[in-house]
């Protein structure tokens, strides 16, 4: 038993200790309250945002791409709706089982299944959807509907696919769309200050972008703006209700200058041979016909191609993906002669009365090297007019021989050689307009006079793309002024390219035109066979590109056994004369004769254009 004294001290001791603990806890509670205060008052806005972020989920809504029209307002590329069977990989655990079950009542095709297997994991991780089958028939839809209770995660919805109404006609001009992913996707979306995230798709293929042609060049216009839907979600991510919606803005429709009828004519005329055709409206520089052959189906490219199909396309030796119209380099050959003639007039080296004697070859005075013409025995005494009509090489060899290469180069540059003359072409090549510096740098050889002589007949190093040839033709037709070429004039229609020739007047131009009309209409013209194909006048100049140089016709017969050795056929033309509306260029690889092989194709296109005006 403890005594009173001790009891008193015990009580005091207890008092002290209890109060001590209370004070200790008071401090601790102060800390708790301080923490609560800082959460609720000091950092309130941070946490308010965090709570808001928690409970709301932003989902992108894909816009529809703009429609692409031809120059008459006919649809070229559209968004085609179809009913698709879709599932969300993130909600499916056993993919094989799902596919097998569905396959029983809706037969899926191998290609789709292999695509699904390939993309399953990725789509699951990104919470994207995958398409089990596109274009369901009415019967398939009802077959699924009666069983839909068994498949919570599979649904039927309307999705679009990008559809070119003429898939093989506009392969290169309009191009195709493809799936956009990875860094490119982030990049594209960041332009709209959004990030790739869950999206309600309009297209079966998900995020898409124009990969080539107009679809690529005008991707920003065609794409439109993503919309947003903000949903209230719970912790499991279930969408509860729509809080806010910003609807997507569909892409702008684009009216191109392309013309279906002439395109069809070009396609039919070229018959899948390797080559290219470009035709333009002279008043605006608008590209109306644009074909690189052989072509391929853009719809297949846009909406899924099996590996085999894709391999077949890229290993095809005719290179269907290669856009010959803006990327193929060809020597202009004899088509260059009108430009050289103009150079002679401009620099007063020749006039219309100037003649030379053409023995069928030209001898370079410096080293006695012989440059041959195409006609054995030559054209005799010949002036500029006849030299163009009959395509005398000797006349132009001799004229080029008297030309300064730097001046000649400037002259040709103004005609569009060696530069990009198209405002909205996809990956255009500039061809090659050689200069002495260029030759030194690439071949480590100085410029010979012979190089200039060769250039006089469009052979040698000089090369141009078919669209450059069309531009050159347009420049000739319009007497030195042309609008920069374009597919879509709403953006680039007004940019004019003017070539002022001081010593060439209207009379000279008209004479030149009539010489070029003579190429077809004169009995001696190189493209006389075209006369019967039209009922109006066309100015033209044909060319034949020698790939292997031969001295005699017998030699050529031997080398032409190999198709790839045969000459390229080439022609430029404009008409109807005397007030030309269209210019056209045609290149047919290994076609041998510019006049009789490329010529009919050019006439077919020209006819289609003029008839439909």
């Amino acid at each position: 038993m403890i005594d009173l004294q001790e009891r008193f001290s015990e009580r005091k001791n207890f008092f002290n200790r209890l109060v001590l603990v209370y004070i200790l806890f008071g401090i601790l509670f102060g800390f708790v309250i301080y923490n609560t205060y800082s959460l609720q008052v000091s950092s309130f806005s941070d946490y308010e945002i965090a709570a808001l972020k928690n409970k709301s989920r932003e989902i992108l809504v894909q816009p529809k791409r703009g429609i692409i029209y031809d120059r008459n307002g006919k649809i070229l590329v559209n968004n085609e709706p179809s009913y698709n069977l879709i599932f969300k990989p993130s909600q499916v655990t056993n993919l094989d089982e799902l596919i097998n079950e569905i396959n029983i009542f809706i037969p899926l095709n191998e290609k789709d299944i292999s695509l699904i297997n390939k993309n399953f994991k990725k789509a699951a991780s990104l919470n994207r959807e995958l398409t089990l089958k596109q274009n369901l028939s009415q019967e398939e839809i009802s077959k699924f509907e009666v069983r839909r209770h068994k498949y919570e995660n599979v649904f039927i919805a309307e999705r679009f696919s990008r559809k070119n109404v003429y898939p093989d006609l506009f392969s290169h001009s309009i191009g195709y769309v493809g799936i956009l992913e990875g860094d490119a996707l982030e990049q594209k979306l960041s332009n709209q200050s959004i990030k790739p995230k869950e999206t309600i798709f309009n297209y079966s293929s998900g995020f898409i972008e124009g990969k080539t042609g107009i679809e690529s060049i005008y991707d920003d216009n065609l794409r439109g703006k993503f919309g947003k839907r903000i949903y209230e979600v719970d912790a499991s991510g279930k969408l509860l209700n729509l809080l806010n919606e910003i609807p997507p803005v569909n892409g702008d429709d684009i009216k191109t200058s392309l013309d279906i009828e002439s395109q069809k004519a070009a396609y039919e005329a070229i018959q899948s041979r390797r080559g290219a055709i470009v035709a333009v409206d002279l008043s605006s520089g608008a590209i109306v016909t644009y074909l690189s052959s052989p072509s391929f189906s853009t719809n297949q490219m846009a909406n899924g191609l099996s590996n085999e199909e894709f391999q077949a396309l890229i290993t095809n030796e005719n290179k269907p993906f290669f856009d010959r119209a803006v990327q193929g380099r060809y020597s202009p050959a004899s088509t260059i002669k009108p430009a050289i003639g103009l150079f002679g007039l401009e620099n007063k080296i020749i006039d219309w009365d100037y003649t030379i004697d053409d023995p069928g070859f030209f001898v370079l005075p410096e080293d006695n090297r012989i440059y041959r013409g195409w006609k054995k025995g030559g054209h005799g005494n010949i002036n500029l007019n006849d030299a163009i009509i009959e395509s005398s090489n000797t006349f132009f060899f001799s004229l080029a021989y008297q030309s300064d290469i730097d001046n000649l180069r400037d002259h040709l540059f103004k005609f569009g050689f060696g530069r990009n003359i198209c405002a909205d072409c996809f990956l255009p090549d500039t061809g090659l307009l050689p200069s002495p510096e260029w030759k030194m740098n690439t071949h480590n050889f100085g410029w010979f006079k012979g190089d200039t002589v060769n250039m006089g007949v469009g052979q040698g190093y000089l090369s141009a793309t078919p669209i450059q040839l069309a531009y050159y033709a347009a420049m000739l037709a319009n007497k030195g002024k042309v609008n920069k070429f374009s597919f879509v004039q709403d953006f680039y229609g007004s940019e004019k390219d003017i070539f002022n020739l001081e010593n060439v007047d209207e009379v000279d131009w008209n004479k030149l035109h009539s010489s070029m009309i003579g190429v077809i209409d004169n009995p001696k013209g190189t493209a006389g066979r075209l006369r019967a194909l039209k009922d109006y006048k066309i100015a033209a100049k044909s060319g034949t590109v020698e790939l292997v140089s031969t001295d005699t016709k017998e030699d050529y017969k031997i080398i032409r056994e190999t198709e790839g050795n045969r000459d390229h056929a080439i022609i430029i033309a404009f008409g109807p004369m005397p007030n030309p509306k269209y210019a056209v260029s045609v290149v047919i690889e290994n076609g041998e004769s510019g006049g009789s092989v490329a010529g009919p194709v050019a006439i077919a296109v020209m006819n289609a254009l003029i008839e439909n005006d």
Partner: protein, 367 residues
Amino acid sequence: MIRKFLNLFRNGVYFDQYLFISITLLSLMGLVFLFSASQGNIETTIKQSFFVLFGLILMFAVSQPDPDFYKNNSLLFFLISVLLVVITLLTGKEINGAKRWLDLGFFTLQTSEIIKITLPVFLASYLFDKSLPISFKNTIVSLILIFFIVNLVRIQPDLGTSLVILIAGLYILFLAGLSWRFIGVSAGLFTLSLPYIWNNFLEPFQKQRILTLFDPNSDPYGSGWNITQSKIAIGSGGFTGKGYQQGSQAHLDFLPETETDFIFSVIAEEFGFFGVCVLLGIFFFILLRCLYLALNARDRFCRLTIGGLSLLFLSTVFINLSMVVGIIPVVGMPLPFISKGGSSLLSFYIAFGIIISMATHKKLMRR
């Protein structure tokens, strides 16, 4: 029989209106909060109201016997509760890998909640007549007892409750006059043995919780989820709160365990800092009343018991609050009188019943 029962009230009823009113108020507020925290589950709320009603009656009943009754029978109560804990360990109902509950048919009893009360009372009855400072022998006996019980509960495993039992036992020892020298030495030893405890006594998930505390953002969707979401709930409540049943964190399932451990987060989200202050005000009132009662208790046993039990209450509130605001790791710990619960809720009504008994039965003091 009836007369004998009425004899109990011959000297009137023993009743502390301050504690009674504040606890009743807290309980009623708890029901309101729970209704929201349970997503408006009327069944849960009704069940809880029965517990509250029963708890208040129990508190009243427990406060009637004389403190001597608890002093004399504390060993018996203690042994019974140890037995219950042991039975639980052997035959208990396993939920989520933990054996904490004894299925009584009408009620699943969490036996550790009983020993939480009986241990401090028993220790008080053991130490109240020991001279000051507590001898080394008595200290060791008490400590062995405490650690034995703590370990019994820990292996269930129930880290939260075992922690509370540990500190409740230590409070009694401390209040009873544990020598400062002993405190100093053992605190030093404890600090040194921390790495050993970390490596040998903590389950991996418990370690993870502690680690998470220091950097909740390291794994916001894993073990940091609870703390992160709780902080967002509290923080987004702001000063005035989002309004009753308007808490998005609570109602869209972002917040875990809204009915039990994290009910404070729901309150903070819906009633804001203002609501938090009102709630804490009531808690502080109860605690200060307990302090007053302890200091004016009739004898040492009553003092120790009131002190120990009130600190038990204080610690529980503190652990719960500091857990939900992210100061300490997540341990299962309800907010007394507010969180949904059976045993844990009733244990505090019993504790306060005992406190009221200790405080209201006066003895004439010799002067």
